[in-house]
């Protein structure tokens, strides 16, 4: 079910270079198999559990400048840009 190709695809989705994919194959497969138990659960309701908030209680649209100069705490160049790698 979970093979090398699948593990590498998952690694690609979460952008982790799996240097030893084999190490993960068995464990992920074992745990997914355990998750498959959910298939056997009989539900008598489609309800899910989520917090709710009334639209009227949301944050007011007010501009408040950040109390710190955040960019000074980040990795930046002399022009206060964040430097990203080359985007092909």
């Amino acid at each position: 079910m979970v093979d090398r190709k699948e593990i590498e695809h998952l690694g690609d989705l979460v952008k982790v270079d799996l240097r030893e994919p084999e190490k993960y194959i068995k464990q992920v497969e074992q745990i997914i198999k355990y998750f498959d138990r959910l298939d056997a659960v009989e539900f008598n309701s489609d309800a899910t559990l989520r917090n709710e908030v009334d639209a009227e209680n949301l944050r007011d649209d007010k501009h408040e400048p950040c109390t710190i100069s955040l960019i000074d705490h980040l990795k930046k160049d002399q022009n206060n840009f964040i430097r990203a790698p080359k985007m092909v």
Partner: protein, 483 residues
Amino acid sequence: MNLGISATEFVSQAKAGTISVEEFVAKTLDRIKLVEDKIHAFITVDYQNALAKAKEIDKKIKSKDKVGTCFGMPISIKDNICTAGIKTTCASKMLENFVAPYDATVVSRLKSEDAIIVGKVNLDEFAMGSTTEFSYFGPSRNPWNVDYVPGGSSGGSGVSVSAQECLASLGSDTGGSVRSPASFCSVVGLKPTYGLVSRYGLVSYANSIEQVGPMARTVEDVAFLLNIISGYDSHDDTTVKNEHVDYTKDITLGISGKKIGIITQMIGEGIDKEVASATNRAISKLQDLGAECVPISLDAVEHSVAAYYTIASAEASSNLSRYDNLRYGFDFGTEGYEFKAFILKARSNFGPEVVRRMLLGAYVLSAGYYGKYYLKAQKVRAMIKAQLDEAFKKVDFLVSPTMPILPYKVGEKIDDPLKMYLTDINTITANLSGIPAISVPFEISSSGLPIGVQLFANSFEEKKLLQAAYALQETTNLPEVPL
């Protein structure tokens, strides 16, 4: 000077002037230096600021200035809770040198009450684990026997309180991460109702189910901390606007006439014999105090581990996406890299358990699988909550062993993740349903290892829950930590 007093006792002595805050904090820091080699609770200790702050508070006390209710109480903070100016590493190489530019709401509330943050304590990387062995900085060890795990993921919190390196600690509880180390280290640990305590500044792992929770030596101490950290926060949309409650008031009320349900799924099969018999003794004690105890079956609990790890890994895989080493992180530049190569390199610094959960999360959220895994897991949550609501119509509290097993040896389960996941069976119910749960130290096993008992109440009934926990605590007589 006794560093093993309760936080409440410390406050009354500091207030009365019978304790010098500076001396207490200095002794605490000495203690940390003395025992850290053996137990490794801390990732960062803030020696200088802690002492300076203690002097400042002593001055305020002497000159009768207004002093915050903590009176310089030394506290440790789990290292996934942001503290301005002190590193917040999440026990990960990814954030090895990360200094948050802001305080978590719980931290700023403690500071404004004159608590002293003595340092940041160890955890499983990004709180993913049940033993604190998955820390990039190495495992913490159980002060009751250093060959054993202290529980986790808030292992450093449990160890630091238990080993008298501080008076109290804040942990975070996603699936039992406060209660597991509380049980294994013989301290009190509370997982509050989801939405009672702000998560602003808590580095997210599974954000739909986790809460910051207080850990301390006594139930009163935990109530005291909850008074400070609970309540609506304008930085967290999931906090609830309830009226403020004083959790310490009437804490001695007792549980006479209350009804307690014993969760049959949590005390039967698979439970360590000594843990089971200790729990039964706790139940008899509660009955002696006038509570009526009845068995309650929550069959949805059987699905809880699968549901919990589905949700936790799905959310983790998304929450941990932001660590790409562009805006913050360890220092290697972007020059000469193409985007994908850069990000793959940066993110291969996550530890194996974190990677495992991200892979699992990617799997269950992949196109076409949402209905099969995540949605079903969400429905299990609702099912558990519905069964709990039914139960709480009949009983005031529920009881179970906090952990189904005794603390085990470091390294024993580290290579079998599923086996480790299954040890969370008793704690995750509270996270999936959002209800509060507390672990109270109850006995020490024949092998000298702590056993905790867990009590649950319905959502936002922390006051009642703390009264019951206090009643249980008063039946115990536990030895000093042998460290």
